[in-house]
């Protein structure tokens, strides 16, 4: 892909997108992010005027699920078109070029848009043994990230792997996988976690970055507009939770009646994402609606947070061997202490003597 400097509005017309549908897109984005109504207009005006933003997309230890989510939505939607408004200068899966030519495209983009391009990362970065566990064109992911991040304007970590380490980081983490934010400390980083993230969340955040800059982020670096509420708070099954009506298994009466899945392991109460409101496949459904509890995929270390089918209120700790040893040792120490105490108590009993009336007279004498 070569560098283009066309304005977005030109591109839109070239693709046969009417201004009406473009405005609809902007309005949808603005409302999805709970921006004020005027923001849709601002967004549209800005998007029309901006030059195509150069974007470099790096894929590291990942499964391509995030790219799939973004590009293979139910039908070709306006979300996918956003990629026509940016200049995706480097992307493994999507680019036509290969080998040296592909790497050349990346270097060209980095050079031409130095300090201005946006870096999108999906996948975690292996750091153990100097990062040899994943290389592209002979370069480790670790080195490539550092190199590309150096001149980026901002970094967007797409998917839980890039944002928090994700599955590759799950115990015992054989490759020493880390998230982008664990490695890069001097750039603004937006996390869009999820396994994968919701397509409209990705396009919405990108639109926001292009027009209004970096959105408001929570303590985990996630845009508050999409990750501000917990699944639980916006879940349509919440009334059942409030009434104490729970499915006890996936095939009981409660499950058939659509009661709350808390007791079969739903992580909705501790998971922040927009699944319950935006839903998936063009707003068709989301996991809880199809009868399975939330697995908490947009939270850090969700893979190691206990079983997916264990209720949140149950303990994740497994006592294991040492607890048994400690218990045994404690019992022995306790029994020994009790014996010793009994002995000294008996000794004291025999040492003390009766108080007699003569003792009462002592002071008088």
């Amino acid at each position: 892909m070569t560098k283009k400097t066309h304005r977005l509005s030109d591109e839109l017309q070239k693709h046969g997108i009417s201004r009406r549908s473009f405005l609809k897109f902007c309005t949808a984005m603005a409302s999805a992010m709970a921006l004020p109504p005027m923001a849709a207009n601002v967004m549209a005006e800005t998007l029309e005027k901006v030059q195509r933003q150069s974007v470099i997309w790096l894929s590291f230890q990942e499964c391509t699920g995030c790219t799939e989510s973004l590009t293979r939505s139910h039908k070709p939607s306006i979300e996918s078109l956003i990629f026509d408004f940016i200049s995706l200068d480097y992307h493994h899966t999507l680019q036509a070029a290969s080998g040296d030519a592909a790497e050349l495209a990346r270097e060209q983009a980095m050079h031409a848009h130095k300090g201005k391009y946006i870096l999108i990362v999906d996948g975690s970065i292996p750091t153990k043994d100097d990062g040899v566990y994943s290389t592209i064109a002979g370069m480790t992911n670790l080195d490539m990230l550092k190199e590309v991040a150096k001149d980026a304007a901002a970094i967007v970590s797409i998917g839980t792997c890039a944002a928090y380490g994700g599955l590759p980081k799950a115990a015992p983490n054989p490759t020493g996988a880390q998230s982008v934010s664990e490695i890069i400390k001097d750039k603004p980083i937006i996390n869009i976690p999820g396994c994968p993230p919701i397509p409209v969340v990705m396009t919405g955040v990108l639109a926001h970055v292009l027009t209004l800059g970096i959105p408001e982020l929570d303590s985990h670096g996630r845009p508050v507009a999409f990750y501000g509420d917990s699944i639980h708070d916006r879940c349509y099954r919440r009334p059942f939770y409030d009434q104490g009506l729970f499915a006890k298994s996936f095939d009981d009466d409660g499950a058939r009646k659509g009661w709350c899945l808390y007791e079969v392991g739903c992580k909705g109460p501790v998971t922040h994402n927009a699944c319950a409101t935006l839903k998936w496949n063009n707003g068709t459904s989301f996991p809880i609606q199809s009868g399975h509890g939330c697995i908490g995929c947009s939270e850090p270390d969700f893979w190691d947070a206990g079983g997916f089918y264990k209720a949140l209120s149950t303990s994740n700790a497994e006592p294991g061997h040492w607890a048994g040893v400690a218990l045994g040792a404690g019992a022995v120490v306790g029994a020994a202490a009790a014996l010793a105490n009994r002995h000294s108590h008996k000794q004291a009993e025999s040492d003390k003597t009766e108080i007699t009336l003569d003792d009462m007279k002592e002071s008088d004498a």
Partner: protein, 423 residues
Amino acid sequence: MTTSLEQGINTLKAAIDAPTASYFSSCVHCGICAYACIFYTETGEAKYTPMNRLEPMKRLWEQEYTVLGRLKKLIGLSKAITQADMEAAVELNFESCTTCGRCSMICPVGNDIVYMIKKMRGALTAAGLAPPELKGAAVRAIEKGSVMGFPMETLAAQVRAAEKETGIKINIDEPNVDYMLLLSSAEVVQFDEIIGSLAKIFKQAGVTWTFSSKAHEAANPGMHMGAKDIEAQQIEQMVAAAEELKVKNVISPECGHAYMAIRWDGPNVIGRPYPFKVFHIIEVLDQLREQGKLKTNACCTEEPITFHDPCQAARRGGVNQPQRNLLNMMSSNFVEMKQHSACNWCCGGGGGVGSLEKTEELRKRIFHRKKRQIDELGVNTVVTMCATCRNTLEEGLENNSMDVNVIGLTEAVANHLLKENES
């Protein structure tokens, strides 16, 4: 035995039992016991926090009965209990604690603090540090049968006087009667009108009763000193007297701690059950009232009266309702203090504190609580059912120049019945 620091420590060590160990380990240091204690609330001095009074006992428990404490002792990190520690404990356990039990009742983890204070007192007694007033009282109680030293002859004289005044025969050593009556020292000489009063009430009710020449007083200084041996010796005297006369019931007088000793502590310290029942005199009067044996035909007085609950009989002993039944029978204007019954505030004289010369100034300070309670109600009469409370109240009211009468409940009931008969 000769009392000594070593004996005190041995006694304390032997006194630390399973409940004590669990109390010390479950104390969460919340300090609520301080706010339950009249000595803390009226002085604001932190040393009066009930759990703090037990510091030597707690240290000994740690050193002798906990793994960490033993280690600390081994490497010299904890100090042994000294004579000075024990002497300091005398002030906190004998002179500024009436064993009223409010702390035990209020403790959120259920620690019976008074249970431990009594053990602490026992250890101090074994160390020879018990206050001389209590020691003297114990000697008099066992040798003469009276804490103030009034022998049976004194009571016999009072009985004759009461017989003369009322014209009713009063038994001494009469076997097989319903009740054997025990008195407190104060009732033998100071509040002696009670003898005639009871003669009238019992005659009217048709019950039989007697005094015993072998045991005529129920006060028990041994209990105050935590000296179980002495306490038991005195209880044995009373039990022997009651057994000899084959009475069905023994009446504990208008005295808080006597009731505690003979009704609740007694069988435990002597190690066997009684062949008779024990009642507080007010329980007996209320039973007679219930059976319709307290005959009265005039209406009750309208003068406002209030009641001061003796800690040992009410909170600790469980006698809370009978006195209220009797007061409501006599007065249409019986008003309660804000905190009463099980929650009452101590008068400041119980647990032997009232008999200690040293405590006079402190007693004056802590009486302010009772003063405020009485002032709030604006009554002119306070009724109580304990001779020690009565003395303490009279002393406190006098010190504060308050024009309030204090009377014993038995006397009040007798006056009430008498009034009816005259009218």
